[in-house]
Symmetry: C2
Subunit: 232 residues, 2 copies
């Protein structure tokens, strides 16, 4: 059976608009073919210049940015807005984040986070000659569970979902509905070595089942069609 | 920064009511102090004899068991029931499962899955002389994301949530709301080495931050108070 290693990549440093993330990652860690590289949304958004100025003394400033980034609002309570982003993600505050961002700025989600992952993957192939999977991760809450977990908001070179339907369980019964969101489990595993405050924005998962390393996309595979959504 | 190893435990074999799970696990793998042992709900339910007979030819049989295991129904669509269990978990079919269970039987969730985790932890201390964290995991869906992930339904010897509130981010700003559900991220990481069909019902995560290994409980820490639930 497989054995995974999960480790944080040190020495990434502060990321600025225009920075070449793939180049910086390739400098910081020796990657192997088949590795999965998990990159937090925050540094992707910074590299892609998805920062907007918000007046830190105007409580409405942050709120306006959140509404701008939302296509629909599902719920509001106090300062918390649960909304749907252009990507189709349902999350708190449309993914707009003030932490680990310079005072006076907020970080928006990447415009197309699967494309962000593809760019990093292509860059790592060009820079380091490796074929890896890339996941862009972000920290989301859950409807009925307290606490946050990291999930994938973009991926490339790895399928977002592994489909076990049609295979048999250990007793020879066909498994009917078992589509596992492996990119979300991988993003969560990576978070375990990143901490929140230590500024480790990249982690590597080594030893992933090679059959998972295929074309993949969070938007196409993970985002639930509103028509099958029971909770709006 | 930390480095995790995640590996499946082979040789667990078929579990029967009354089996001593801790003894079986201690025989199958050499554990170290500080390891986190993730055990799937299915074998916990089997060992605790949480199996009920259901007539496989009566489609209503399964449904009746699900209703018996639910304290409230949130949504129904076709065969799918989203309900709240006695533990406070909101999940599909009240966690009642027919896969990897003998034909004619369904596996219910453990009565008290934190207690199940504590028993396994105590058993591993007695059998192997190790202080480990134990997580009982199950496979749940998510409201707005397709695909399933494994999450913790019980834990012992590890805090369910790590609270980074009050610590500072890498730019010296205080992190306000960052409570990470590490037991869920650990359960998901373990699932990555278990597969669904191969019958690897136990995995070990080695290298977890020692400060996380404290008293913990899924029910007290993770289950969201219905009063703060925006989506019922």
């Amino acid at each position: 059976m497989s054995r995974l290693e999960v480790f944080g990549v040190e020495g990434i440093g502060e990321i600025r608009p225009g920075d070449d993330l793939a180049g910086i990652i390739a400098e910081a860690v020796e990657l192997l073919d088949g590795d999965v590289v998990v990159v937090t949304q925050k540094i992707v958004s910074k590299a892609e210049d998805r920062l907007v100025a918000v007046d830190p003394d105007d409580p409405d400033g942050h709120r306006r940015v959140i509404l701008d980034e939302s296509v629909s609002i599902l719920r509001r309570r106090g300062d918390l807005v649960i909304s749907e982003t252009r990507h189709g993600f349902v999350c708190a505050n449309a993914g707009v984040d003030l932490s680990n961002v310079e005072r006076g700025y907020a970080a928006l989600l990447p415009e197309d986070s699967d494309r962000s992952a593809r760019r990093i993957r292509d860059g790592l192939r060009a820079r380091a000659g490796v074929e890896v999977g890339v996941i862009v991760s972000d920290t989301f809450g859950r409807t009925w569970r307290r606490g946050l977990t990291d999930v994938a908001i973009g991926c490339a070179g790895i399928g977002a979902i592994v489909d076990y339907r049609g295979t048999e369980d250990s007793l020879g019964r066909e498994l009917h509905v078992t589509e596992v969101a492996v990119v979300d489990e991988l993003a969560g595993a990576a978070d375990l070595v990143m901490g929140k405050a230590e500024g480790i924005p990249v982690a590597v998962v080594r030893g992933v089942d090679p059959s998972w390393l295929r074309r993949g996309e969070v938007r196409a595979e993970i985002v639930r069609d509103p028509a099958e959504d029971l909770f709006r």
